[in-house]
C-alpha cells in the first residue's frame, strides 16, 4: 500500500497524463474490470472542467479559431499549465504566451494580443472597487502645481498594445455572426481597459494617451508622463484627453508630488 502522499501524487500525475494510468496507480484501485473507465471520469473532469474555465476566459479566441481547435488547445494547456490558484477566477494567465508557442497558429499572429485583451478584461472585472477621482480633489490644487502631481489610475486599469488591429478584431467578435472583414494592415492598436463602476469598459486610444496612462500607472508625475507621451506622439492632445477621461473613472486619486 502506497503512503497517502505518494498515492495522491500518483493520482495527480495520472490526471495530467493523456495515456493509460500507471500500473502503480491502477494497483491501488479496486478493480472489477472497470477501473480504467472509472479513473477516466476524474481525468475528464480535470481536463474538461478546467478547459471550460479557459473557454470562459477566452470566448473571442474560441470564436476566432472555432470550438474544436479551442478545445484541443485547451486540453493541451490544462495538461501543460495546470491551475496554480485555489480559484479558477483568473485561470489562463499564461494562455497568450502558450498561443504564441503553437506553430499552427503562426498564421494568426494577432491571436495572443487578443488573448491578452481578454485576460485583462477579466482581471478588470475582478479588480478592487475604488472611489473615482472627484472634481473637488482636483479643484483644491493650485493649477500651476499640477505638473508635479501624479494621477492614480483606477486599480482595474490595464493597457494593452498590439502591432495588429487587436481592438477591432476583438470588438467584431463580441457579437455572434459579425461579417466584418478586418485587414491586418490597418495598423497597431492601443487598448485601455478599466472598470470604473460595475461595467468593464474597453476602448481604443491614441498612442500618446496610451503612453501617458502607462507612465502614470508606473508612478510618473503628470509632467514626466506627458513629456514621454509627446516624444512618441506629438499629436497627443492633453486638453481633449482630460476633458473626456479626467473624471470618467479612468483615475481614482491625485498622487502627491515626490519631495
Amino acid at each position: 500500500m502506497k503512503s497517502l502522499s505518494d498515492l495522491q501524487r500518483e493520482f495527480c500525475d495520472a490526471l495530467r497524463a493523456p495515456g493509460a494510468p500507471s500500473p502503480v496507480l491502477m494497483d491501488e484501485l479496486l478493480d472489477d474490470g472497470t477501473a480504467p473507465e472509472r479513473f477516466n471520469v476524474y481525468r475528464n473532469n480535470f481536463v474538461v472542467l478546467n478547459g471550460d474555465a479557459l473557454a470562459d476566459m477566452y470566448p473571442t479566441i474560441r470564436r476566432l479559431i472555432g470550438d474544436e481547435a479551442f478545445r484541443s488547445l485547451a486540453n493541451r494547456y490544462v495538461r501543460t499549465h495546470p491551475p496554480e490558484s485555489r480559484t479558477l477566477l483568473l485561470y489562463g494567465d499564461r494562455f497568450p504566451g502558450f498561443l504564441e508557442s503553437i506553430p499552427e497558429l503562426s498564421r494568426l499572429p494577432y491571436l495572443s494580443d487578443v488573448a491578452r485583451l481578454e485576460f485583462a478584461w477579466t482581471c478588470a472585472y475582478h479588480a478592487p472597487d475604488a472611489q473615482l477621482l472627484g472634481r473637488d480633489e482636483v479643484a483644491s490644487i493650485a493649477a500651476e502645481t499640477f505638473t508635479r502631481f501624479g494621477l492614480e489610475p483606477h486599480p482595474s486599469m490595464h493597457c494593452i498594445s498590439s502591432d495588429y488591429p487587436a481592438y477591432r478584431i476583438w470588438a467584431a467578435n463580441q457579437e455572434e455572426g459579425s461579417e466584418e472583414t478586418i485587414s491586418l494592415d490597418s495598423g497597431p492598436s492601443h487598448i485601455l481597459i478599466v472598470r470604473p463602476g460595475m461595467e468593464v469598459e474597453t476602448r481604443e486610444v491614441g498612442e500618446g494617451a496610451f503612453l501617458f496612462l502607462q507612465r502614470l500607472q508606473a508612478g510618473d508625475s503628470i509632467e514626466d508622463a506627458f513629456d514621454m507621451a509627446m516624444q512618441s506622439d506629438s499629436a497627443f492632445d492633453l486638453a481633449e484627453f482630460f476633458a473626456h477621461h479626467l473624471f470618467d473613472g479612468t483615475f481614482c486619486a491625485l498622487r502627491k508630488p515626490r519631495t
Binding site: L15, A35, M198
Partner: protein
C-alpha cells in the same frame, strides 16, 4: 465595495428550516427584481474571492434579502498537503463579510501536487486519512471560528486498501472534529449505486443530530463496459428515487434545511423554484410528523 453596501440592513443570518437554491450568475437579476420566495441561497465562496467587481456586488445585494450558505470546494480537507492559509484567509474574509448561516466543505481532496485539480477527488478511507481530515477540519474551524459541515462525496472509484466504510469515516470525522454533516442524498444514491453499497445501511449510519443540511441534485447515467456509472453532473432535475429517499430520510431524522443544487444546464429560475417548493412541502410534512412523533 462601498461601505454603504455593507451597512445595509440584512435579514437574520441563520439558514431557516426551508428549502434553498444554488445561486447562479444567470439568476442574479431574477432574484433581485422578482424577489422569489426562497428560504436561502448557497454559493461556492471560491467564485467570490476576487477583490471586487460584479460578483461581490450582486452577492452583497442578494444577501440583504436572503440568508446565505457558503459551500466551499477549495480547502482540500483530505489532501496530504497542508491547508492553504491564504485560501483559508480569503474564506474567513467572506465569512466575516457575508455572515453565512452555514459553511460547508466536501469529504475529498483536490490538491496533491503544487498545482490544483479543481475537482473533488476520492479518499482512501484509512485511519491515517481520517487523522488528516480531522486535523484539517480542526484548522478550518479554528480559523473561521465556527463549526462547519462536511459533505459526503459522489465517487466513481474505490481504493483497494480502504479500511472503513465511507459513512463510518464521515461520521467519525465529524465526531472527532465537532463538525456537522451535510448529507447529499443524491451523492449517497450515486456512490451507493456506483459501488454496490447498501443505501439503507449508509443512511442508517448517519446520526440525525449531526445533519445540518441536505443537498438534492440531479445526475446522469453512463454505460460502462460492465454495468453503469452514475455521474453527479448537477445538470438535471432531482430524480424520483432521490426524492423518495429524501422524503423517507427527513421523516426519519426530522426536517433539515435542504438545497436544490444545479451547476450545469442551468434552467429558468422558476424550474429550480419548483423543485424547492416540492422540498419545502416535504419539509413541512416531515416537521408535522416529527413533532407528533417526538
Amino acid at each position: 465595495m462601498g461601505e454603504a453596501e455593507i451597512s445595509q440592513p440584512r435579514v437574520e443570518a441563520p439558514v431557516p428550516m426551508r428549502a434553498g437554491v444554488s445561486l447562479k450568475a444567470q439568476h442574479y437579476r431574477t432574484v433581485i427584481d422578482r424577489h422569489p420566495d426562497v428560504g436561502w441561497f448557497e454559493v461556492h465562496p471560491e467564485n467570490y474571492m476576487g477583490r471586487g467587481g460584479p460578483p461581490l456586488g450582486y452577492l452583497e445585494r442578494i444577501r440583504r434579502d436572503y440568508p446565505l450558505s457558503l459551500h466551499s470546494v477549495g480547502t482540500s480537507l483530505g489532501s496530504h498537503l497542508p491547508v492553504d492559509r491564504e485560501h483559508l484567509g480569503a474564506l474567513k474574509e467572506l465569512v466575516d463579510r457575508f455572515e453565512p448561516g452555514m459553511v460547508s466543505e466536501h469529504l475529498s481532496w483536490s490538491h496533491g501536487r503544487e498545482w490544483y485539480t479543481h475537482d473533488l477527488l476520492p479518499l482512501r478511507y484509512t485511519e491515517d486519512a481520517l487523522n488528516l481530515v480531522v486535523a484539517h477540519i480542526d484548522q478550518v474551524q479554528e480559523v473561521l471560528q465556527r463549526k462547519i459541515l462536511i459533505e459526503n462525496p459522489s465517487t466513481y472509484l474505490q481504493f483497494r486498501d480502504s479500511e472503513m466504510k465511507e459513512q463510518d469515516f464521515l461520521v467519525e470525522a465529524a465526531r472527532r472534529s465537532g463538525a456537522g454533516l451535510l448529507l447529499d442524498i443524491n451523492n449517497v444514491y450515486v456512490s451507493c449505486s456506483n459501488h454496490g453499497w447498501d443505501i439503507e445501511a449508509y443512511l442508517s449510519a448517519i446520526p440525525a443530530q449531526l445533519v445540518g443540511e441536505i443537498h438534492l441534485a440531479g445526475h446522469t447515467v453512463q454505460t460502462l463496459r460492465k454495468g453503469t456509472l452514475r455521474l453527479d453532473d448537477h445538470g438535471s432535475a432531482v430524480c424520483d428515487e432521490v426524492w423518495s429517499l429524501y422524503k423517507d430520510c427527513i421523516q426519519t431524522i426530522g426536517p433539515v434545511p435542504t438545497l436544490i443544487e444545479r451547476d450545469s444546464n442551468i434552467p429558468e429560475f422558476t424550474e429550480l423554484l419548483g423543485e424547492a417548493t416540492v422540498a419545502g412541502q416535504a419539509l413541512t410534512a416531515a416537521g408535522e410528523k416529527y413533532e407528533v412523533a417526538v
